[in-house]
Protein backbone atom coordinates (compact mmCIF):
# COMPACT_ATOMS: atom_id res chain seq x y z
CA UNK A 1 0.00 0.00 0.00
CA UNK A 2 1.40 3.39 -0.98
CA UNK A 3 -0.40 6.36 0.54
CA UNK A 4 -0.44 9.81 -1.01
CA UNK A 5 0.67 12.77 1.09
CA UNK A 6 -2.29 15.03 2.01
CA UNK A 7 -3.35 17.72 -0.47
CA UNK A 8 -6.35 19.81 -1.52
CA UNK A 9 -7.68 19.15 -5.00
CA UNK A 10 -8.72 22.05 -7.22
CA UNK A 11 -10.61 21.66 -10.49
CA UNK A 12 -10.44 24.99 -12.34
CA UNK A 13 -12.40 25.28 -15.58
CA UNK A 14 -10.19 27.77 -17.45
CA UNK A 15 -6.50 28.42 -18.04
CA UNK A 16 -6.81 31.83 -16.38
CA UNK A 17 -8.37 30.28 -13.28
CA UNK A 18 -5.68 27.58 -13.16
CA UNK A 19 -2.73 29.97 -13.47
CA UNK A 20 -4.44 32.25 -10.91
CA UNK A 21 -4.57 29.36 -8.43
CA UNK A 22 -0.92 28.57 -9.15
CA UNK A 23 0.00 32.20 -8.57
CA UNK A 24 -1.83 32.08 -5.25
CA UNK A 25 -0.35 28.83 -3.87
CA UNK A 26 3.06 29.15 -5.57
CA UNK A 27 5.57 26.53 -4.34
CA UNK A 28 2.85 24.63 -2.45
CA UNK A 29 1.03 23.68 -5.66
CA UNK A 30 1.55 21.57 -8.76
CA UNK A 31 -0.49 20.99 -11.89
CA UNK A 32 -1.81 17.51 -12.56
CA UNK A 33 -3.21 16.28 -15.88
CA UNK A 34 -3.57 12.48 -16.21
CA UNK A 35 -1.58 12.01 -13.02
CA UNK A 36 0.12 8.89 -14.40
CA UNK A 37 3.57 10.35 -13.68
CA UNK A 38 2.90 12.73 -10.81
CA UNK A 39 0.72 10.47 -8.63
CA UNK A 40 3.23 7.55 -8.51
CA UNK A 41 5.99 10.11 -7.87
CA UNK A 42 3.99 11.61 -5.00
CA UNK A 43 3.45 8.13 -3.58
CA UNK A 44 7.25 7.83 -3.58
CA UNK A 45 7.47 11.24 -1.83
CA UNK A 46 9.40 12.74 -4.73
CA UNK A 47 6.90 15.62 -4.69
CA UNK A 48 4.67 16.66 -1.80
CA UNK A 49 2.52 19.54 -3.05
CA UNK A 50 -0.27 20.45 -0.64
CA UNK A 51 -2.43 21.74 -3.51
CA UNK A 52 -3.06 19.93 -6.78
CA UNK A 53 -4.45 21.99 -9.64
CA UNK A 54 -6.16 19.62 -12.06
CA UNK A 55 -6.10 20.44 -15.76
CA UNK A 56 -8.42 17.77 -17.17
CA UNK A 57 -11.57 19.89 -16.78
CA UNK A 58 -10.06 22.88 -18.57
CA UNK A 59 -11.82 22.67 -21.94
CA UNK A 60 -9.41 25.10 -23.66
CA UNK A 61 -6.76 22.38 -23.33
CA UNK A 62 -8.65 19.84 -25.42
CA UNK A 63 -9.22 19.49 -29.15
CA UNK A 64 -7.20 18.26 -32.13
CA UNK A 65 -7.76 20.36 -35.27
CA UNK A 66 -6.15 22.10 -38.22
CA UNK A 67 -5.62 25.77 -37.47
CA UNK A 68 -3.54 28.45 -39.21
CA UNK A 69 -1.40 25.98 -41.15
CA UNK A 70 -0.72 23.74 -38.14
CA UNK A 71 -2.20 20.66 -36.59
CA UNK A 72 -3.05 21.93 -33.14
CA UNK A 73 -3.19 19.34 -30.34
CA UNK A 74 -4.58 20.48 -26.97
CA UNK A 75 -2.25 19.48 -24.15
CA UNK A 76 -4.95 17.64 -22.18
CA UNK A 77 -5.71 15.25 -25.04
CA UNK A 78 -4.94 11.75 -23.86
CA UNK A 79 -2.29 9.62 -25.52
CA UNK A 80 -5.06 7.18 -26.52
CA UNK A 81 -6.89 9.99 -28.33
CA UNK A 82 -3.72 11.21 -30.06
CA UNK A 83 -2.80 7.66 -31.13
CA UNK A 84 -6.30 6.92 -32.42
CA UNK A 85 -7.08 10.26 -34.06
CA UNK A 86 -7.61 9.85 -37.84
CA UNK A 87 -5.90 13.12 -38.72
CA UNK A 88 -2.86 12.41 -36.57
CA UNK A 89 -2.65 8.93 -38.11
CA UNK A 90 -2.87 10.32 -41.62
CA UNK A 91 -0.58 13.35 -41.30
CA UNK A 92 1.87 12.31 -38.60
CA UNK A 93 1.89 8.51 -38.39
CA UNK A 94 5.12 8.47 -36.33
CA UNK A 95 3.42 10.56 -33.64
CA UNK A 96 0.40 8.22 -33.55
CA UNK A 97 2.85 5.32 -33.32
CA UNK A 98 4.85 6.90 -30.46
CA UNK A 99 1.74 7.92 -28.48
CA UNK A 100 0.33 4.41 -28.97
CA UNK A 101 3.48 2.86 -27.50
CA UNK A 102 3.61 4.86 -24.29
CA UNK A 103 3.03 2.64 -21.23
CA UNK A 104 -0.06 0.36 -21.41
CA UNK A 105 -3.70 0.92 -22.46
CA UNK A 106 -5.06 2.14 -19.11
CA UNK A 107 -2.20 4.63 -18.75
CA UNK A 108 -2.78 5.94 -22.29
CA UNK A 109 -6.46 6.46 -21.43
CA UNK A 110 -5.48 8.80 -18.58
CA UNK A 111 -2.02 10.15 -19.50
CA UNK A 112 -1.95 13.28 -21.65
CA UNK A 113 0.40 14.56 -24.33
CA UNK A 114 1.04 17.72 -22.25
CA UNK A 115 2.04 15.54 -19.31
CA UNK A 116 4.26 13.56 -21.67
CA UNK A 117 6.14 16.75 -22.55
CA UNK A 118 6.48 17.66 -18.87
CA UNK A 119 7.31 14.11 -17.69
CA UNK A 120 9.81 14.13 -14.85
CA UNK A 121 13.22 12.62 -15.70
CA UNK A 122 13.86 9.07 -14.50
CA UNK A 123 16.73 7.27 -12.79
CA UNK A 124 17.31 3.95 -11.02
CA UNK A 125 18.25 5.82 -7.84
CA UNK A 126 15.28 8.19 -7.97
CA UNK A 127 12.09 6.32 -8.96
CA UNK A 128 11.99 4.39 -5.71
CA UNK A 129 10.11 4.57 -2.42
CA UNK A 130 11.46 7.03 0.12
CA UNK A 131 12.46 4.03 2.28
CA UNK A 132 14.60 2.65 -0.56
CA UNK A 133 16.16 6.02 -1.30
CA UNK A 134 16.85 6.70 2.36
CA UNK A 135 18.53 3.34 2.83
CA UNK A 136 21.07 4.07 0.12
CA UNK A 137 21.45 7.76 0.99
CA UNK A 138 19.36 10.32 -0.89
CA UNK A 139 20.70 11.67 -4.20
CA UNK A 140 21.17 15.16 -5.56
CA UNK A 141 17.85 15.29 -7.44
CA UNK A 142 15.87 14.80 -4.24
CA UNK A 143 16.99 15.42 -0.65
CA UNK A 144 20.69 14.52 -1.11
CA UNK A 145 23.99 16.06 -2.14
CA UNK A 146 25.67 13.63 -4.53
CA UNK A 147 24.65 11.93 -7.72
CA UNK A 148 24.95 8.14 -7.41
CA UNK A 149 25.45 7.80 -11.16
CA UNK A 150 28.40 10.16 -11.56
CA UNK A 151 29.48 10.19 -7.89
CA UNK A 152 29.93 13.94 -7.92
CA UNK A 153 27.61 16.59 -6.58
CA UNK A 154 27.27 18.98 -9.47
CA UNK A 155 24.79 17.63 -11.91
CA UNK A 156 21.85 15.26 -12.20
CA UNK A 157 21.95 13.11 -15.33
CA UNK A 158 18.56 11.39 -14.97
CA UNK A 159 17.03 10.29 -18.28
CA UNK A 160 14.38 12.15 -20.25
CA UNK A 161 12.01 9.22 -20.78
CA UNK A 162 9.05 10.47 -22.81
CA UNK A 163 8.22 8.98 -26.20
CA UNK A 164 6.43 11.75 -28.07
CA UNK A 165 8.98 14.62 -27.83
CA UNK A 166 11.59 13.02 -30.15
CA UNK A 167 8.97 12.59 -32.88
CA UNK A 168 7.65 16.13 -32.34
CA UNK A 169 11.22 17.44 -32.65
CA UNK A 170 11.78 15.73 -36.00
CA UNK A 171 8.55 17.38 -37.23
CA UNK A 172 9.49 20.91 -36.10
CA UNK A 173 6.64 21.22 -33.58
CA UNK A 174 6.05 24.28 -31.37
CA UNK A 175 4.90 24.34 -27.75
CA UNK A 176 2.57 27.04 -26.41
CA UNK A 177 2.88 28.03 -22.75
CA UNK A 178 0.42 30.20 -20.85
CA UNK A 179 1.16 32.05 -17.63
CA UNK A 180 -0.49 34.85 -15.67
CA UNK A 181 1.21 37.37 -18.01
CA UNK A 182 0.05 35.81 -21.26
CA UNK A 183 1.28 33.30 -23.79
CA UNK A 184 4.61 32.41 -25.37
CA UNK A 185 5.51 29.87 -28.00
CA UNK A 186 8.80 28.04 -28.48
CA UNK A 187 10.19 25.35 -30.77
CA UNK A 188 10.07 22.04 -28.94
CA UNK A 189 13.86 21.57 -29.05
CA UNK A 190 14.21 24.79 -27.06
CA UNK A 191 11.64 23.58 -24.55
CA UNK A 192 14.09 21.02 -23.10
CA UNK A 193 17.32 21.75 -21.23
CA UNK A 194 20.15 19.48 -20.04
CA UNK A 195 19.34 19.48 -16.35
CA UNK A 196 18.12 16.18 -14.90
CA UNK A 197 16.58 17.91 -11.87
CA UNK A 198 14.21 20.06 -13.92
CA UNK A 199 14.61 19.60 -17.65
CA UNK A 200 12.30 22.15 -19.29
CA UNK A 201 12.10 25.91 -19.70
CA UNK A 202 8.53 25.91 -18.40
CA UNK A 203 8.35 28.10 -15.28
CA UNK A 204 6.34 26.43 -12.48
CA UNK A 205 3.38 28.76 -12.99
CA UNK A 206 3.12 28.10 -16.75
CA UNK A 207 0.75 25.63 -18.36
CA UNK A 208 1.57 23.85 -21.61
CA UNK A 209 -1.63 24.61 -23.50
CA UNK A 210 -1.05 23.12 -26.94
CA UNK A 211 1.40 21.53 -29.34
CA UNK A 212 1.43 22.78 -32.92
CA UNK A 213 2.90 20.80 -35.80
CA UNK A 214 3.26 22.59 -39.15
CA UNK A 215 1.08 20.85 -41.75
CA UNK A 216 3.99 21.19 -44.17
CA UNK A 217 5.84 18.52 -42.17
CA UNK A 218 3.17 15.98 -43.15
CA UNK A 219 4.92 15.40 -46.48
CA UNK A 220 8.03 14.14 -44.66
CA UNK A 221 8.61 10.43 -44.29
CA UNK A 222 8.56 9.60 -40.60
CA UNK A 223 9.46 6.69 -38.38
CA UNK A 224 9.83 5.87 -34.70
CA UNK A 225 11.18 2.91 -32.71
CA UNK A 226 11.52 2.12 -29.03
CA UNK A 227 13.63 -0.25 -26.98
CA UNK A 228 12.15 -1.44 -23.70
CA UNK A 229 12.22 -4.45 -21.43
CA UNK A 230 8.58 -5.49 -21.77
CA UNK A 231 6.86 -4.39 -24.96
CA UNK A 232 3.53 -4.18 -23.14
CA UNK A 233 4.12 -1.42 -20.62
CA UNK A 234 7.65 -0.24 -19.86
CA UNK A 235 9.28 3.16 -20.16
CA UNK A 236 11.80 3.45 -23.02
CA UNK A 237 15.46 2.48 -22.57
CA UNK A 238 16.03 4.17 -25.93
CA UNK A 239 13.67 5.94 -28.31
CA UNK A 240 14.65 6.94 -31.86
CA UNK A 241 12.66 9.16 -34.23
CA UNK A 242 13.57 10.22 -37.77
CA UNK A 243 11.96 12.21 -40.53
CA UNK A 244 13.16 13.00 -44.03
CA UNK A 245 12.17 14.86 -47.14
CA UNK A 246 12.91 12.47 -50.01
CA UNK A 247 12.28 13.35 -53.66
CA UNK A 248 10.48 11.09 -56.11
CA UNK A 249 13.80 9.90 -57.56
CA UNK A 250 15.05 8.96 -54.07
CA UNK A 251 17.29 11.99 -53.45
CA UNK A 252 17.37 13.04 -49.79
CA UNK A 253 16.51 16.74 -49.48
CA UNK A 254 16.72 16.89 -45.70
CA UNK A 255 16.84 14.42 -42.85
CA UNK A 256 16.82 14.60 -39.08
CA UNK A 257 16.99 12.18 -36.20
CA UNK A 258 16.44 12.47 -32.46
CA UNK A 259 17.24 9.95 -29.72
CA UNK A 260 16.10 9.96 -26.13
CA UNK A 261 16.05 8.04 -22.82
CA UNK A 262 19.82 8.48 -22.68
CA UNK A 263 20.44 11.86 -21.05
CA UNK A 264 18.36 14.61 -19.45
CA UNK A 265 16.95 15.92 -22.74
CA UNK A 266 16.18 14.46 -26.16
CA UNK A 267 19.27 14.69 -28.37
CA UNK A 268 19.09 15.88 -31.98
CA UNK A 269 21.61 13.81 -33.95
CA UNK A 270 24.20 16.01 -35.60
CA UNK A 271 26.33 15.57 -38.70
CA UNK A 272 23.68 13.76 -40.74
CA UNK A 273 23.23 16.45 -43.39
CA UNK A 274 26.71 16.14 -44.94
CA UNK A 275 26.33 12.35 -45.08
CA UNK A 276 22.85 12.25 -46.56
CA UNK A 277 21.64 15.41 -48.31
CA UNK A 278 21.84 15.01 -52.08
CA UNK A 279 22.41 11.25 -51.82
CA UNK A 280 20.15 8.20 -51.77
CA UNK A 281 19.06 6.41 -48.62
CA UNK A 282 20.62 3.04 -49.49
CA UNK A 283 22.17 0.40 -47.24
CA UNK A 284 25.58 2.12 -47.23
CA UNK A 285 24.14 5.47 -46.28
CA UNK A 286 22.06 3.87 -43.52
CA UNK A 287 25.22 2.28 -42.10
CA UNK A 288 27.06 5.60 -42.12
CA UNK A 289 24.18 7.44 -40.44
CA UNK A 290 23.90 4.72 -37.79
CA UNK A 291 27.65 4.89 -37.15
CA UNK A 292 27.51 8.69 -36.81
CA UNK A 293 24.67 8.33 -34.30
CA UNK A 294 26.66 5.76 -32.32
CA UNK A 295 29.70 8.09 -32.07
CA UNK A 296 27.71 10.82 -30.36
CA UNK A 297 25.63 8.82 -27.85
CA UNK A 298 27.17 7.99 -24.47
CA UNK A 299 24.48 6.83 -22.05
CA UNK A 300 25.35 6.65 -18.34
CA UNK A 301 24.27 4.06 -15.75
CA UNK A 302 21.06 5.98 -15.00
CA UNK A 303 18.56 3.28 -15.96
CA UNK A 304 18.16 -0.31 -14.88
CA UNK A 305 20.05 -1.92 -17.77
CA UNK A 306 23.74 -1.89 -18.71
CA UNK A 307 24.76 1.41 -20.34
CA UNK A 308 27.20 -0.24 -22.77
CA UNK A 309 24.41 -2.41 -24.09
CA UNK A 310 22.11 0.59 -24.47
CA UNK A 311 24.86 2.37 -26.39
CA UNK A 312 25.33 -0.66 -28.64
CA UNK A 313 21.61 -0.62 -29.39
CA UNK A 314 21.72 2.97 -30.71
CA UNK A 315 22.98 2.04 -34.22
CA UNK A 316 20.67 -1.01 -34.27
CA UNK A 317 17.58 1.11 -33.66
CA UNK A 318 18.75 3.95 -35.92
CA UNK A 319 19.11 1.40 -38.72
CA UNK A 320 15.62 0.08 -37.99
CA UNK A 321 13.94 3.47 -38.28
CA UNK A 322 15.91 4.39 -41.40
CA UNK A 323 14.89 1.09 -43.02
CA UNK A 324 11.28 2.03 -42.27
CA UNK A 325 11.80 5.38 -44.04
CA UNK A 326 13.06 3.59 -47.11
CA UNK A 327 9.98 1.45 -47.48
CA UNK A 328 7.30 3.95 -46.42
Amino acid sequence: MLRLPPFSYHKPSSVAEATGLMDQYAEEAMYVAGGTDLIPNMKHRLFEPTHLIALKSVTELSGIREENGDLRIGSAETLAEVAGHPEVQKLFPALADAAGHVAGPQLRNAGTIGGNLCLDTRCTYYNQTSFWRGALGYCLKKDGTVCHVTNVGKKCVAAHSADTPPVLMTLGAMVTLAGPDGERRLPIEEFFITDGIYNTRRTPVEIVTEIRIPLGAASRRQAYAKLRQRKSIDFPLLTVAVSADIEGNGTVQSINGVVTALGARPRALSGWDDLAVGGTLDADMIDELAERAHEQCHPLENLIVDADWRRAMVPVYVRRVLEKLRIT
Binding site: L4, P40, K43, G104, L107, I233
Partner: protein, 168 residues
Protein backbone atom coordinates in the same frame (compact mmCIF):
# COMPACT_ATOMS: atom_id res chain seq x y z
CA UNK B 1 -0.81 19.55 6.46
CA UNK B 2 -3.91 18.04 8.10
CA UNK B 3 -6.01 15.84 5.84
CA UNK B 4 -9.17 17.56 4.63
CA UNK B 5 -12.22 15.28 4.65
CA UNK B 6 -14.90 15.98 2.11
CA UNK B 7 -17.97 14.34 0.67
CA UNK B 8 -17.37 12.97 -2.81
CA UNK B 9 -20.28 11.93 -5.06
CA UNK B 10 -19.41 8.92 -7.19
CA UNK B 11 -21.56 7.16 -9.78
CA UNK B 12 -20.57 3.55 -9.21
CA UNK B 13 -22.20 0.68 -11.08
CA UNK B 14 -25.17 2.89 -11.88
CA UNK B 15 -25.75 4.09 -8.30
CA UNK B 16 -24.97 7.59 -7.08
CA UNK B 17 -23.00 7.10 -3.87
CA UNK B 18 -21.84 9.75 -1.42
CA UNK B 19 -18.87 9.04 0.76
CA UNK B 20 -16.69 11.09 3.11
CA UNK B 21 -13.01 10.70 2.21
CA UNK B 22 -9.77 12.57 2.79
CA UNK B 23 -9.21 14.76 -0.27
CA UNK B 24 -5.97 12.96 -1.11
CA UNK B 25 -7.60 9.52 -1.39
CA UNK B 26 -7.32 7.66 -4.67
CA UNK B 27 -10.42 6.31 -6.38
CA UNK B 28 -9.26 2.82 -5.36
CA UNK B 29 -9.07 3.80 -1.68
CA UNK B 30 -12.52 5.38 -1.84
CA UNK B 31 -13.99 2.25 -3.46
CA UNK B 32 -12.34 -0.21 -1.08
CA UNK B 33 -12.25 1.64 2.23
CA UNK B 34 -15.11 4.12 1.76
CA UNK B 35 -17.69 2.04 -0.11
CA UNK B 36 -16.56 -1.47 0.81
CA UNK B 37 -16.20 -2.45 -2.85
CA UNK B 38 -13.13 -4.63 -2.41
CA UNK B 39 -13.35 -6.33 -5.81
CA UNK B 40 -10.83 -3.88 -7.32
CA UNK B 41 -7.45 -4.99 -6.03
CA UNK B 42 -4.61 -2.98 -4.56
CA UNK B 43 -1.55 -4.55 -6.18
CA UNK B 44 1.47 -2.37 -6.87
CA UNK B 45 -0.56 0.74 -5.98
CA UNK B 46 1.52 2.81 -8.44
CA UNK B 47 0.30 2.19 -11.96
CA UNK B 48 2.36 -0.84 -12.95
CA UNK B 49 0.13 -3.92 -12.67
CA UNK B 50 -3.49 -3.26 -13.64
CA UNK B 51 -5.06 -5.09 -10.64
CA UNK B 52 -7.00 -1.92 -9.74
CA UNK B 53 -8.47 -1.43 -13.26
CA UNK B 54 -12.01 -0.03 -13.30
CA UNK B 55 -14.06 1.32 -16.21
CA UNK B 56 -14.29 5.11 -16.17
CA UNK B 57 -16.63 6.57 -18.82
CA UNK B 58 -16.24 3.37 -20.82
CA UNK B 59 -12.43 3.28 -20.67
CA UNK B 60 -10.20 0.98 -18.59
CA UNK B 61 -8.53 3.18 -15.98
CA UNK B 62 -6.14 2.58 -13.08
CA UNK B 63 -8.01 3.55 -9.92
CA UNK B 64 -4.84 3.44 -7.74
CA UNK B 65 -3.43 6.55 -9.43
CA UNK B 66 -6.72 8.39 -10.05
CA UNK B 67 -7.36 11.10 -7.44
CA UNK B 68 -10.87 10.42 -6.16
CA UNK B 69 -12.13 13.92 -6.90
CA UNK B 70 -11.07 13.49 -10.53
CA UNK B 71 -13.62 10.66 -10.77
CA UNK B 72 -16.51 12.82 -9.57
CA UNK B 73 -19.05 13.37 -12.32
CA UNK B 74 -17.89 10.34 -14.33
CA UNK B 75 -19.46 6.90 -14.67
CA UNK B 76 -17.49 4.21 -12.82
CA UNK B 77 -17.98 0.49 -13.35
CA UNK B 78 -16.11 -1.94 -11.10
CA UNK B 79 -15.94 -5.73 -11.29
CA UNK B 80 -18.95 -5.81 -8.93
CA UNK B 81 -20.97 -4.12 -11.68
CA UNK B 82 -20.26 -6.58 -14.49
CA UNK B 83 -22.82 -9.21 -13.55
CA UNK B 84 -26.52 -8.35 -13.65
CA UNK B 85 -29.65 -9.77 -12.02
CA UNK B 86 -29.86 -12.51 -14.65
CA UNK B 87 -26.44 -13.91 -13.82
CA UNK B 88 -22.73 -13.54 -14.26
CA UNK B 89 -21.25 -11.63 -17.20
CA UNK B 90 -20.36 -14.03 -20.05
CA UNK B 91 -16.70 -13.25 -19.32
CA UNK B 92 -17.10 -14.45 -15.76
CA UNK B 93 -18.65 -17.74 -16.93
CA UNK B 94 -15.89 -18.14 -19.51
CA UNK B 95 -13.10 -17.53 -16.97
CA UNK B 96 -14.72 -20.21 -14.81
CA UNK B 97 -15.04 -22.74 -17.66
CA UNK B 98 -11.52 -22.14 -18.99
CA UNK B 99 -9.76 -22.09 -15.64
CA UNK B 100 -8.53 -18.58 -16.46
CA UNK B 101 -7.99 -17.61 -12.82
CA UNK B 102 -5.56 -19.18 -10.41
CA UNK B 103 -4.90 -16.94 -7.41
CA UNK B 104 -7.46 -14.55 -8.89
CA UNK B 105 -5.76 -11.34 -7.83
CA UNK B 106 -5.45 -10.02 -11.39
CA UNK B 107 -8.91 -11.24 -12.42
CA UNK B 108 -11.11 -8.23 -11.53
CA UNK B 109 -8.84 -5.87 -13.47
CA UNK B 110 -8.60 -8.24 -16.42
CA UNK B 111 -12.38 -8.66 -16.51
CA UNK B 112 -12.78 -4.88 -16.67
CA UNK B 113 -10.25 -4.48 -19.51
CA UNK B 114 -11.76 -7.43 -21.39
CA UNK B 115 -15.35 -6.19 -20.91
CA UNK B 116 -14.43 -2.92 -22.65
CA UNK B 117 -12.82 -4.83 -25.52
CA UNK B 118 -15.95 -6.97 -26.00
CA UNK B 119 -18.09 -3.83 -26.02
CA UNK B 120 -16.12 -2.77 -29.11
CA UNK B 121 -15.99 -6.14 -30.82
CA UNK B 122 -17.24 -9.60 -29.99
CA UNK B 123 -14.78 -11.19 -32.43
CA UNK B 124 -11.42 -9.78 -31.39
CA UNK B 125 -8.28 -11.31 -32.90
CA UNK B 126 -5.70 -12.88 -30.58
CA UNK B 127 -3.53 -9.78 -31.11
CA UNK B 128 -6.39 -7.46 -30.18
CA UNK B 129 -7.01 -9.45 -27.01
CA UNK B 130 -3.32 -9.31 -26.10
CA UNK B 131 -3.17 -5.57 -26.74
CA UNK B 132 -6.30 -4.90 -24.70
CA UNK B 133 -4.88 -6.85 -21.77
CA UNK B 134 -1.30 -5.60 -22.11
CA UNK B 135 -1.65 -3.36 -19.06
CA UNK B 136 -2.84 -6.19 -16.82
CA UNK B 137 -0.17 -8.41 -15.29
CA UNK B 138 -0.93 -11.99 -14.31
CA UNK B 139 1.79 -13.82 -12.40
CA UNK B 140 0.03 -17.21 -12.34
CA UNK B 141 -1.69 -18.32 -15.52
CA UNK B 142 0.71 -17.54 -18.35
CA UNK B 143 -2.19 -15.75 -20.09
CA UNK B 144 -3.18 -18.49 -22.59
CA UNK B 145 -6.29 -19.52 -20.71
CA UNK B 146 -7.22 -15.88 -20.17
CA UNK B 147 -7.03 -15.18 -23.92
CA UNK B 148 -9.06 -18.33 -24.63
CA UNK B 149 -11.69 -17.28 -22.11
CA UNK B 150 -12.03 -13.79 -23.60
CA UNK B 151 -12.34 -15.22 -27.12
CA UNK B 152 -15.01 -17.70 -26.05
CA UNK B 153 -17.00 -15.05 -24.16
CA UNK B 154 -16.94 -13.02 -27.39
CA UNK B 155 -18.28 -16.01 -29.33
CA UNK B 156 -21.08 -16.49 -26.82
CA UNK B 157 -22.03 -12.82 -27.10
CA UNK B 158 -22.14 -13.21 -30.88
CA UNK B 159 -24.40 -16.23 -30.68
CA UNK B 160 -26.65 -14.44 -28.21
CA UNK B 161 -26.83 -11.43 -30.52
CA UNK B 162 -27.76 -13.70 -33.45
CA UNK B 163 -30.44 -15.44 -31.44
CA UNK B 164 -31.65 -12.05 -30.24
CA UNK B 165 -31.99 -13.24 -26.70
CA UNK B 166 -29.91 -13.21 -23.57
CA UNK B 167 -29.42 -16.97 -23.49
CA UNK B 168 -28.52 -16.80 -19.82
Amino acid sequence: MPAVTQIVRLTVNGDLREVGVPMHFTLLEALRYGLGLTGSKQGCDKGDCGACTVILDGRPTLSCITPVFEAEGHAIVTVEGLADVEGPHPLQDAFDLHGAAQCGFCTPGILCSAAVLLEKTTSPSRTEIKEALSGNLCRCTGYSKIYDAVASAGQRLQVEAQLGESGR
